[in-house]
Amino acid sequence: MKTKKLLSILVLILIISMAYGTYNLSLSQFKLSDKNNSYLGGLTWSRSLDASLQKAQQENKPIAMYFWAIWCQYCAKFQSDTLGNPQVKEILEKDYVLVAMDLDIDRDISRKYGVSYPPYVIFLDGKGDVLERIPGAVDANYFLPIVTKVRNQVRGK
């Protein structure tokens, strides 16, 4: 009886500390989104399309709107390989207004732009007009020319 009691207490302690540790680890390191922002592919994305449209008009920048979902297997890869590509990342960070839409939450906006699956990137100008669409988990070689083209297009106006 004694051994079993001791074992049970040990396991209980083990389980609780593992639970506590992982809980805090996620809060500090693996936050994907809070009220205002999403943190995906090492970039910070706004969660408000309206605010981003305003900002895009003020700064004369295009908008990159990224549709994602937590359960999406391809998104994780897309974020680390394509969005996380140093060249892509630099352009997105410097020359774009970034906004992320969670397919589980922002259903109306997804429907409005005809997005039914993640990952999906839509480029908009400050007026909200669609400039380009990239559906699916494309690689950086495919993504980079388009990001560059859209940026130059908006700058040239």
Binding site: L7, S8, M18, T22, Y23, F30, L32, C72, A76, D104
Partner: protein, 759 residues
């Protein structure tokens, strides 16, 4: 609105309530008033629910779209088998399936026990209470809801067609996977009910009562999970047979605790004081976790590609988990405090029960890791509004934490399975050696063979602790695997020598189930660690027929590319063959529809159009110039002129309709070469239709144990190129063999009749 199906459900509810009251009267007040009615009532309810399920199936087969559920999950063009499997494609139908199986098991309990003992009676009370609860759930989300209850449907409207089944659900695995899961979920009810009765009243015989049901659940649920894995591997292109998706993980958790329960029960049945609390608690926890799995799928709280989405029954399910959880915990605690401190001889740590107890705890820990990993992100989301991940790559969390406990479990297997008190000291020594070897092996350096994949882009972003645990060499699994295999071998040879056939067969069954563990683990570990992947292959369509080098010595040839519709187009109106057979019947008015296969426009005089449906073709004359294109769909109504050699339809009007099928398939025929030697060929498909798209990879299975499956994922033609992902997946056959052995072993165990009392 009271539809026929709902009336059956309400009647079932009333009759099962009578049975429940009858049992309670007998049990509490010893009042025989309704006792005679109880068994017939339960059997009637089981019959009614059987009828209800058949009725639902009939509505699907007959395409009765005046029922919302049929409207949403079926369509006329689906093959018969998918009309039938549509009954379990959505929540309402699976609730009905669940409650039906609960009452089938209640009927079995009634027939076999006649409610003669207090244990049987009380177990039936709890089973019926759960059954009643599930009838209520089914009624809330009834599959028999009429479309006229929907706000925007005018009375008398009959939809011409349903919206069809989700494209991903149109394949063989969909036919088998859901029923297995839900039958498994339903059949755990009796072991749970018996365990609760035992915790309440210490009634003896609870374990015997639930034994075969627990084994049956273990088999069916296990096969359901395995079939889900096969489905993910061969169809979804999820990147393997196990992705730690919340829904598949949720179904795995109760299976783990059920496995724990069966180990506890094995010792408990030999000595009633052993695991007298652990065994019933594990049975109770398993049932609670089954309810929890239902929440994961049905509450809309969990973000999974697999979930059914928001629903009305979420809150009810959550409260039932809380209620059963609290009741089980309180009962368990009470029993623990009541139990007199046994003055037993202290055998120290190294006794069979203690090591078995470690095994039980390991199952609990593994279940907890999975439970926690799918639960706390949702908890954080609900309480703080943040979305978090469990690790940089979700599966890393589960793999990193489960790995060390899996080694411990294998060590426990090796030590326990063939335990003999007399050889304890010798066996301890072996265990220590194997454990030491496992620890040493953890530090061996290799190219790629680690708990976490170092070449993955997620690796660099994992925190220090996961990097540390992820750097454990997977070579460390082998000492314990070999140790466990040796123990199983000794165990098996011991049993093979026995003369008593009953004991021998059971021993063989147990050995096979444990061999299955080794096979499955080995296959899973080797295949996931040594899979070769080449992503982002793009073959231009004009290179069709040319063998192209795709790197690492592999070459791919796109032999053919084609598109087709998965289902036959259905045409409204009178079949053309009927019109041709009896033209005079249709001289006044007829409507036909078909695909435009030919046309002849003679300026302002009129247009001749040939329409073809599934039965035949005929010419239609339109006045004036009608713009038509070949292969478009046209519905024409008018009258038949039968004076010609062949009857012709003189059209009054026409409507165009869409003939492109709801499910369009792109397929590529491929040949894969390694160093210019063909290693596999086949077809990879990409399906687009309702609810998104599905990838159906080309798999050339290996016929040898260690050989690699050639696995090519095709993501649909884009920009004039065929995008492909090539994988070579080795040793996955071990996992499939393991799954078959699991089933064979448990069936052998179930086939052996338990020892007659006093024998």
């Amino acid at each position: 609105m009271m539809t026929f199906g709902n009336a059956i459900l309400y009647t079932s509810l009333a009759i099962s309530a009578i049975a429940l009251i009858g049992l309670l009267l007998k049990d509490r007040k010893n009042n025989e008033l309704l006792t005679k009615l109880v068994s017939p009532a339960i059997i009637i309810v089981a019959g009614l629910l059987t009828f209800a399920y058949l009725l639902l199936t009939y509505y699907f087969v007959a395409s009765d779209f005046t029922y919302e559920y049929v409207w949403q999950y079926s369509s006329r063009d689906l093959p018969l088998i998918y009309k039938i499997s549509g009954t379990w494609a959505g929540q309402p139908g699976t609730y009905l399936l669940w409650v039906w199986v609960i009452f089938l098991s209640a009927a079995w309990l009634a027939q076999t026990t006649k409610h003669a003992t207090p244990l049987a009676r009380r177990t039936q009370i709890i089973t019926l209470a759960i059954g009643v609860y599930f009838i209520v759930l089914t009624l809330i989300q009834t599959p028999f809801k009429s479309i006229y209850e929907l706000a925007d449907v005018p009375p008398g409207f009959v939809p011409a067609d349903g919206s069809g089944l989700n494209a991903l659900l149109i394949n063989f695995w969909m036919i088998v996977h859901p029923p297995l899961m839900f039958i498994g979920y339903a059949t755990i009810t009796i072991p749970f009910a018996a365990a609760i009765v035992y915790l309440l009243t210490k009634e003896d015989g609870w374990e015997e009562l639930g034994r075969q049901w627990a084994r049956f659940t273990w088999l069916i649920l296990g096969m359901g999970i395995a079939v889900g894995g096969v489905w993910a591997y061969v169809v979804l292109g999820w990147g393997g047979f196990w992705a730690w998706d919340p829904v598949e993980t949720a179904s795995f958790i109760p299976w783990l605790t059920l496995t724990g329960f069966m180990h506890a029960a094995a010792l408990h049945r030999k000595n009633k004081t052993t695991f007298s609390i652990a065994a019933p608690m594990l049975a109770a926890v398993t049932f609670i976790l089954v309810l929890y799995a239902a929440i994961v799928v049905r509450s809309g709280l969990f973000n999974s590609v697999h979930a059914f989405g928001d629903t009305s029954t979420g809150t009810l399910l959550i409260s039932s988990v809380i209620i059963t959880g609290v009741v089980s915990l309180v009962l368990g605690m009470r029993r623990y405090l009541e139990e007199p401190d046994k003055v037993e001889e202290d055998k120290g740590f190294w006794s069979k029960t203690n090591i078995f107890y470690v095994t039980l705890l390991l199952f609990v820990i593994l279940a907890f890791i999975s439970f926690w990993g799918i639960t706390y992100p949702v908890f954080i989301q609900l309480t703080q509004g943040f979305k978090v991940n469990v690790a940089s790559d979700t599966k890393n969390f589960f793999n990193v934490w489960s790995y060390p406990f899996t080694i411990l479990l294998m060590l426990a297997l090796g030590f326990c399975l063939n335990y003999k008190e007399s050889e304890k000291e010798k066996r301890k020594k072996t265990l220590f050696i194997v454990a030491a070897l496992s620890i040493i092996a953890m530090f061996l350096r290799t190219e790629t063979f680690y708990v976490l994949d170092h070449s993955s882009p997620f690796w660099v972003r994992e925190p220090q602790i996961y990097k540390l645990m992820g750097s454990i060499s997977v070579i460390s699994i082998f000492p314990s695997l070999i140790y466990a295999t040796a123990a199983i071998y000794q165990y098996l040879s011991g049993y093979l020598k026995l003369g008593n056939a009953r004991v021998r067969i059971k021993g063989i069954g147990i050995a096979i189930v444990h061999i299955a563990v080794i096979f499955t683990l080995f296959g899973a570990i080797i295949s996931s660690n040594f899979t070769y992947t080449n992503q982002g292959i793009n073959i231009p369509l004009e290179e069709k027929g040319v063998l192209l080098d795709v790197g690492d010595g592999y070459g791919i040839k796109v032999v053919d590319y084609s598109t087709r519709s998965l289902t036959e187009t259905s045409y409204s109106g009178t079949p053309i063959a009927d019109v041709l057979a009896n033209p005079s019947l249709f001289e006044k008015d007829v409507t036909i529809s078909g695909k435009v296969t030919n046309f002849n426009s003679s300026g302002s005089h009129g247009t001749l159009v040939e329409l073809t449906d599934n039965s035949g073709s005929m010419w239609v004359v339109f006045e004036g110039n009608v713009p038509v294109t070949v292969n478009s769909g046209l519905t024409a109504s008018g009258r038949i002129m039968s004076g010609f050699e062949k009857p012709v339809l003189i059209a009054r009007g026409a409507d165009e309709f869409d003939v492109s099928g709801k499910y369009n398939v792109q397929s590529v025929q491929l040949e894969v070469y390694e160093n210019h030697r063909k290693i596999g060929s086949g077809v990879a498909e990409y399906l687009q239709g309702k609810g998104g798209s599905g990838t159906f990879p080309m798999i050339a299975p290996s016929i040898t144990l260690f050989g690699g499956d050639v696995y090519v994922i095709f993501q649909g033609v884009g920009g004039g190129a065929v995008p492909l992902t090539l994988k070579i997946v080795p040793a996955v056959n071990f996992a499939w063999i393991g799954i078959i052995l699991f089933a064979v072993g448990i069936i052998l165990i179930m086939a052996v009749k338990s020892k007659p009392k006093g024998g």
